[in-house]
Symmetry: C2
Subunit: 325 residues, 2 copies
Amino acid sequence: MKTIGEIGEFGLIDRIARFGAPSADVLTGIGDDCAVLRLGDRKLLVTTDMAVEGVHFRRDLATPYDIGYKSAAGALSDIAAMGGTPLFFLVSLSCPVDTEIAYIEAMYQGITNLTSAYGVSLVGGDTTRAHDRITLDVQMIGEAKGLHVLRRKGAQAGDLLAITNTVGQSAAGLKASMEGHEVPELLTAHYRPIPRITEGQWLAAHDAVHAMIDISDGLIQDSGHLARINQIGINIETDKLNPSPALSKYCWENNLNPIELMLSGGEDFELAFAVDAQECQSLFSLFKQEIRTPLRVIGRFTHEWTGVRVDGQPTNLHGFDHFSV
Amino acid sequence: MKTIGEIGEFGLIDRIARFGAPSADVLTGIGDDCAVLRLGDRKLLVTTDMAVEGVHFRRDLATPYDIGYKSAAGALSDIAAMGGTPLFFLVSLSCPVDTEIAYIEAMYQGITNLTSAYGVSLVGGDTTRAHDRITLDVQMIGEAKGLHVLRRKGAQAGDLLAITNTVGQSAAGLKASMEGHEVPELLTAHYRPIPRITEGQWLAAHDAVHAMIDISDGLIQDSGHLARINQIGINIETDKLNPSPALSKYCWENNLNPIELMLSGGEDFELAFAVDAQECQSLFSLFKQEIRTPLRVIGRFTHEWTGVRVDGQPTNLHGFDHFSV
């Protein structure tokens, strides 16, 4: 009898996906950042993001405000990844009975300070006892604007792979946090990631963008999802990755490889997308006129192989599997 | 510093409710069975139901199919309690890495066998590792039919309190399960509760029904929510409770008090509702012509006190608080 540890998170999701019965109103089901649901003439986006103490966060490192903020950021980022507008959310919480009320209130403060910045309302949830660890599950409900939903599916050979801003800072921030290093930029990247809602909406409204995902489990892994679902290859070019100054400095001082952190570190919540190679330059110029977040091409889609290679070579770097130990 | 154990589940919910910012599109927020959300000309119902191993279920007593079935039943019952139509759902799962895949698949089979009976589709979710216990969180999305949403609020002094079918069987079924007693009716009531979707829709479509809730935490406690939110009293008359034959027999044989189980036992997932006293009889006759589920008046709303009394007397029986230990 095989265990979940043996088949891993994505093996498990494949098994679970078999239970998703097809329906005319389910425009996108299991296997994307959000489900896309038809409701009359509207398109609903729904997603859920579960955070478990000791797996996703440590109470000795993160404040309750951090934990709440980040759970909300993860769910908002899933809406961003499809170009949607978040509207409402629910929170399920299980925690030990001896948890202080002030601690829980700080978590909800972290959640709602972020969501209220996007005009998103807490509308419900569930609360229950747990034996010894906190679990927080945030369910976000959003809406697609008009016809514009960007899925993981749609990338074509020849497309460029681009990302918003930069990656690797969150993973470095976690290391800094664990080592007690005071590196504000990296700690902020880890504990206060910015869901790319505006960027996602803008990109989804432009036909030159063919597919999108958010980088929650690392660049290699999440671009791997783009590759797999489109049955296509991706080549990531490390000379284009261009680590942030803060990441470069921290890695230099601590004898770390910034490229490795950029490829496999998770939770940056930046967007990765496939963009038409011919139209990329003009699209980026247009984007720059309206939005300050930098965009950067870091690779290319190809029909020469399937899966992700780095500088043309297979890699054994990987991202975050929630069932690897 | 106070803990959650000290203020209890409903004290905690009151604190959390403060984080729910008002919005014109949130027709009903925290504090009912579902949130009611305006989306264009539609009314969305959303709810979430979290089940934690060792709190809501025991793996040595329940099969994985049972656990899945019941989690889905709880979420469907919340939709039923407002008279809605369930449409889609998501499932968040955290479990230890050594959990067998077959075990998880049986859980999803239990979930989807129930949901597919109502034409409801699994559309997404999240999966993650947990240290030692399974947590299952089911998020149900439904829709109100037309203008018909029944809330907890709306009961008036003079209204009758009625329930669908009967209560207490689930609590007796749990006892039977723990004692290893083979009592099929009671075990079925506990492990295969029926969400009252059709009944809820019918009741919500009739103006004589003023308020509704599902009985998930026990009759005393859930009717207490109706009393509290309407700032009103309820008198439950024990001679009208009329235990089912299976419950009577089991209680007789095991020296249990059936009335106590009916008042404080949870998870029957029947509906409790306030109905206009003048129109009750004709409403029940109409209902009977279309739906086979029995309805029963078990008490009356009154302005003479606030809260729930039993046969006119205050009671120290209570239901299930997820943070009491």
